[in-house]
């Protein structure tokens, strides 16, 4: 039988946990994360805080400018900035 890796190190567990926050983790990765969490207190703590962060940001409903809008804004701003500094 080929060796299937069930055990992952902490840094990988945290990485999967980060991906889970954006729904980017695969099912198999999540299984491995959960096996890791059974015996690792530090990663349990990280996972807890990480999920709280996700929930908090969702609840706050914060907004920001899209990258393209910001670029447009910069262009306009630079025009005025040049006028002012001349």
């Amino acid at each position: 039988m080929g060796k299937i890796k069930f055990i992952i190190p902490c840094d990988e567990a945290n990485h999967v946990c980060d991906k889970t926050q954006y729904k980017d983790a695969t099912l198999w990765e999540k299984v491995k994360l959960n096996i890791h969490l059974i015996y690792c207190r530090a990663c349990r703590e990280y996972t807890k805080n990480n999920s709280k962060l996700t929930k908090t940001i969702k609840k706050a409903d914060v907004e920001c400018l899209s990258t393209s809008t910001k670029a447009d804004m910069k262009k306009e701003f630079e025009k005025v900035l040049n006028e002012v500094s001349n």
Binding site: H15, Y22, Y46, N50, T54, K59, V62, E63, K70
Partner: protein, 183 residues
């Protein structure tokens, strides 16, 4: 002695999202919010010599923005008629239904919720302001704008593993920063 310096070259990178979020929670319209933020930056440029360095740049810009928001509401209110609430019924059938319509919607956000959300949003932006610029940028693109990993990597010219390292650092710092007051 002035404690704070002014450097408009960095304004958009450092403050535009914060100002935008501040505005949109108060005017509820993306386009108007964008315009108000842009106007704030222009007004800031024009009155740069009045900056005394007593407050931080961000505080100073917010004070300009607040005036812009008030002006905005003043303007729409002076367009008489538009600000009035009108209930017109054209047919006899719906005429009697008005009482039910005035009952408050239980699924609507209460004023208190909105207020708390504003504060929470401000807290999040305060914490974002403490992150290194790059971390804040990547974190916002991934978490608030919900861009795909690929899109961000192309835009910023970084690899996916770079991105996840940055996200990890940003998330750890954000959780730490918000933990004291909000978790």
């Amino acid at each position: 002695m002035p404690d704070h310096k002014i450097n408009p070259n960095k304004w958009i990178d450092l403050y535009s999202d914060y100002l935008f979020n501040y505005t949109i929670t108060r005017v509820n319209d993306r386009e108007i919010a964008q315009d108000l933020v842009q106007e704030t930056f222009f007004a800031g440029l024009k009155s740069m010599k009045n900056f005394k360095g007593e407050a931080s740049e961000r505080t100073w810009l917010i004070s300009i923005l607040k005036r812009k928001i008030i002006d905005h509401y003043r303007k729409i209110n002076s367009n008489k008629g538009k600000a009035e609430v009108r209930i017109n019924y054209n047919d006899a059938e719906s005429e009697g239904d008005w009482l039910e319509e005035r009952v408050s919607d239980p699924f609507d956000k209460t004023a208190e919720d909105t207020l708390q959300n504003n504060e929470l949003g401000d807290a999040i932006y305060n914490c974002l302001g403490k992150l290194p610029e790059k971390q804040a940028e990547v974190f916002k693109m991934k978490t608030i704008l919900n861009y795909e990993t690929e899109v961000i990597c192309n835009e910023l010219n970084i690899t996916a593993s770079n991105l996840w390292v940055i996200i990890h650092r940003a998330r750890t710092a954000m959780a730490d920063c918000l933990k004291t007051n909000w978790f």
